[in-house]
Symmetry: C2
Subunit: 658 residues, 2 copies
């Protein structure tokens, strides 16, 4: 039976109506009506953030978790857990919006072309000129054979093949160029096998002889659970010509990989998530191309890094078994695909290389990170941390590599935090708090009014609030502190970093109790990950020669503060190196050099995955780390010292005041 | 500016209305309104068969060829040549319909599995069983690697690759089969190179261990300009399990290749023609599969023969240069494609092998014909004729092969003839005429009432009418003949083969003057083709040891009558062999055996194409052959003898009557 569902949105006067059968979820009805209701937990009914108000008609609530009896009394219902049983009127309150603005990253990563890059030696994609003899009544050779003969005679390329789409345009291109053409070919098979009888794929054909020094475009992509980064690269010079990043459009359907997998397993969910991340990538591609006056359709090669779930969702491959014991991915080493098959708006013939991963929770973002950070060729034992939504850790050197993963959540990427944001224009990136007045000083990316707080700002804020006593070691806000900036907020105690008078939106920018919890869980998961991994293989953290930290905010982290909150181990700062987004960098290296591409396959094969979920010690280490900096302060001697000095200062100053 | 065009069809009371801008062709407006107006000449304004009646409003006629001033007076206009200039009302008279009924061919071709066919040696597609170790916490190998390991360990297959679509279903198939699966792979690359490090393509994956003797389906297709044939083959046994044929759906947009090319070059025309032939093939596929209870989606391999224009149109490749000097195809040797790329409703991963052609007017139907008839391995000089819409001729033996082509038109396939039809149930396939009474006797395929006349029936009818004096040597109908069956019809003189009282439709079945002209042109083109070809290479027709005749009606031709009309040369009948559809048979051979596939490539490379259009002697030979049997009766001594005897008989009987 069909029912009429009428949606009134808080910001639009006219209701939108959809016809749906009995037992349709409100979320699905809204989708049909073209109204987007965010489902950060992936529609599991766990986060409560898809609540809408039923203003008329009959619905059935399967779950009211996160709703109070009073909420239900007022008609509130979870869109992902409530089905219609008749004609219904719905009021859709304001939805949390994830800022969607395409901006340059805080700082474009400093990246230099790998030393000795030689396009003609290292690159699998080649641009070549071919001069054909025009046909005549005496030489009626067909266009495609004529082109193949030119490949053979002028380039020693024996077995060039192409798609039917290229055959469709070939005749016109040959004639437009008056039988002079520029071809782009992928010679991977020949290079890798070392044998000339393997097939060479024709990727593009342009009329005339295109300047051989003009750019030949490729892209390196990192699909993070929270953030997608894309670098546009000139394959001839090897130079990165544009860098862009944006929140992953899937975030509105789940903030972590588990929520996404659950959402994807619903009817049409997988397709929706695939489209969302494709939209993000294609929009980044457009922005990057616009910046250097390139055409997206001229991009002929792509390499993609990302965790295993992101890779499955991008390719539309069911990811369900990733979250179910024994945690099996469908594919760790995807075959090379075409942009047409994947859905990228590059040249449809472009080869798309989804880099290899290791396991369900250690994906191609980590193998790419190991490649670009060089852990696999290090002489001494090195610890590699990827501080993202999934906290992966790698420990090893040229002889051995072990790895583990834990779910940190997106807090350090500014998501799932009330005033969190990505590290772009307007983000508070560094904070200092005066320990007497509790007044903050902060630095905003690009100057100007603050819009929110990014990862490095959150670490700094957490650390300063702890050291100054605004937060206690359990993360509780000290409401007794003598400052109007400390107050009871909607989500418990909170600290005001910027008043509405100074912020971009006109509203206060705060750190709430809920935010603190999210940040504590994130840092505890990462800390527990690497400590348990080191224990498992019998390595003392002290004996690690280098700690390499990847992650999008990586380079801008303040070591002292990261140690003070217990995210990083308390050791000599000289041993830390902050590398930024090591995943996209690894994708960039493999985009340029086929030997690096072979090395990343080796890395994926060499790494031994340690399953933490099977291990009680991880849970213990995690709960012990849910404090500032840790339950066991003796693990953080430098922090203990600061706190002691602080205590002494406070006593002194108290003494003086008296 | 938009105009309202109202179409009233002869058989539908309610007009259909379309909105179109000024200068829209009536044919295009009809298309928008969803009304199909046939354009047998491809919209060139040459055939006059798309005429409609303008009953109101203003139109502009670009051409009125084939319309009399009286026609124009009454509002008639060619839909393909007339544009709207305001609101217009159109009456659409009855359109000629090409009978579209899926039937078994007259006789399923007798075809035996090639001697010594060994599936495991000859076939490029293999079905194999794989038994995988289930995953566990101790073995978290991803699904695809697990499958690849099984290929390596159990089948020595090193480099198996697959599409993203197969990756999408792989996880479920492995689990549904409890880790036992049946895979279908294409091992062409390994077989052809003889090296195991070439890629093997995974085509299908089914849960469980499918019975290895159950059929593995392939299809062999011949796309004729007029008729499409499809054979469904079990690749395991090599047996042909179903044979179906149907008119090519493109026929409504041009009866010969030139008309099709012109139609295809119009906006959207190429796409429409591609869809029309795909519809024909996919409908044949469905019928064939239904007949043996197979699923179209289980077909894993296809080989396709057809002339070069048909191949281009199937693949959506512009064919324009085929008809423009110097007559160049875009591709003679298409790469192997997937059914997904081509648009066949088989398994989307199925490999589709479009067989190689020689030139614009000698395509893969001829190379396939040479292969299946064995001209390329013959000891003695052999003449091969393909009697289809295009009359191609091959002359040669194991040492040399020459070929030429000429446009015969579709008359022998029953198209372009008033009461013509394909050789299916209800077709008159043989005719005898009493030379005294002019009363005919005929045989109908399948018995029952006649619906029309097929190719072999038309040849017999033409011959009998000529020998009995109903037609003179120029093809004129002798209206003085003493019979009610000879009369003046709508298209000049005509002969009634079957009265309405005895026909299926209730209307007279006739041979008209226009039909005779079409048949004369068809036979003259074929005769001129092989005679000029033989002359060009300096071979006397008499020295040809065998004449092999291909074409869909081939086996049912009456040699005597074909010689009497001057279609075949007048030589000892024992030298003729009628082979039926040699093109689909060649496609079938290459479907089964990769060595045959290599041989057909060799054939395409070996054949020397002789361009007749550059040669005046062809035109002379053609005009000389536009008579029954020929201008030069001395070339047909056996016919001369029959005519002499006949003459003597008539004189005798005349004498007796007196």
């Amino acid at each position: 039976m069909q029912h009429t569902i009428s949606f009134t949105q808080h910001d639009k006067p006219t209701p939108i109506v959809a016809q749906v059968p009995t037992n349709t979820l409100l979320a699905d009805a809204a989708h049909i009506a073209g109204i987007d209701i965010g489902q950060p937990c992936g529609g599991q009914g766990r986060c409560g953030r898809c609540a809408v108000q039923v203003t008329g008609g009959t619905v059935r609530r399967r779950s009211t978790l996160r709703l109070s009896p009073a909420d239900v009394e007022q008609g509130y219902a979870l869109a992902c857990q409530t089905v219609v049983e008749g004609d219904v009127s719905i009021f859709v309150p304001p939805q949390e919006k994830i800022e969607r603005r395409l901006t340059t990253d805080r700082v474009v990563a400093e990246v230099t072309v790998p030393e000795g890059y030689e396009y003609l030696q290292d690159q699998t994609v080649r641009r070549i000129h071919l001069e054909l003899t025009p046909p005549s009544m005496d030489d009626q050779t067909d266009d495609w054979s004529r082109l193949q003969i030119a490949f053979r005679q002028q380039q020693n390329m024996e077995r060039v093949t192409c798609s039917v789409d290229l055959l469709r345009k070939m005749g016109q291109v040959l004639r437009d160029g008056d039988w002079n053409v520029t071809a782009v070919v992928d010679v991977s098979n020949v290079i890798q096998s070392g044998e000339s009888n393997h097939t060479i794929q024709l990727i593009d054909l342009q009329p005339g002889l295109v300047d051989e020094y003009s750019p030949l475009w490729g892209i390196a992509i990192d699909i993070g659970t929270t953030t997608v980064s894309l670098w546009l690269v000139d394959l001839v010079t090897g130079r990165v010509r544009a860098q862009v990043a944006e929140y992953n459009g899937q975030i509105a359907r789940g903030e972590d990989v588990i929520s996404r997998i659950i959402y994807a397993s619903k009817n049409g969910g997988g397709q929706e998530l695939r489209q969302r991340v494709l939209d993000t990538i294609n929009s980044l591609l457009e922005t990057a191309c616009k910046r250097v006056n390139a055409k997206a359709g001229d991009v002929v090669k792509a390499t993609i890094a990302g965790n295993s779930t992101m890779m499955h969702l991008l390719l539309g491959i069911p990811a369900e078994n990733i979250r179910l014991s024994p945690f099996i991915t469908a594919v760790n080493h995807p075959p090379i695909l075409t942009a047409r098959a994947v859905g990228l708006n590059t040249n449809p013939e472009a080869s798309v290389d989804c880099l290899p991963g290791v396991a369900s929770y250690v994906g191609a973002d980590i193998t790419a990170g190991v490649l670009s950070s060089g852990v696999d060729v290090a002489d001494d034992v090195t610890l590699f941390l990827d501080v993202g939504t999934n906290g992966e850790t790698v420990l090893g050197n040229r002889d051995w590599l072990v790895t583990c993963a834990c779910s940190a959540g997106p807090a350090f990427e500014g998501a799932g935090v009330v005033n969190g944001m990505r590290a772009t224009q307007g983000a508070i990136e560094e904070v200092w708090i005066n320990s007497d007045t509790f007044e903050p000083t902060y630095r905003v990316i690009g100057g100007g009014k603050p819009k929110g707080i990014c990862g490095s700002g959150l670490i700094a804020l957490l650390s300063e609030a702890f050291i100054t006593g605004i937060l206690d070691k359990a993360g509780n806000v000290n409401l007794m502190a003598n400052s109007s900036r400390v107050r009871e907020g909607a989500h418990g105690g909170e600290y005001v970093v910027a008043w509405g008078t100074e912020s971009e939106s006109g509203e206060d920018i705060v750190l709430s109790r809920v935010d603190v919890d999210n940040l504590l869980r994130a840092k505890a998961a990462i800390y527990a990950g690497f400590t348990v991994l080191a224990e498992t293989v019998g390595i003392l953290l002290e004996s690690v020669s280098k700690v390499l930290v990847g992650g999008s905010f990586g380079k801008y982290i303040n070591v002292e503060k990261a140690v003070q909150i217990g995210l990083l181990p308390d050791m000599d700062w000289s041993r830390f190196e902050f590398l930024g987004n090591t995943s996209v960098k690894g994708a960039y290296y493999t985009l340029l050099d086929w030997r690096k591409r072979e090395r990343i396959t080796e890395i994926a094969k060499r790494m031994t995955y340690i399953e933490l979920s099977a291990d009680n010690s991880f849970y213990e280490a995690f709960t012990s780390a849910l404090f500032l900096p840790h339950t066991d302060l003796s693990k953080f001697p430098s922090v203990a010292e600061v706190l002691e000095n602080k205590q002494a200062d406070t006593e002194k100053s108290t003494h003086v005041d008296k």
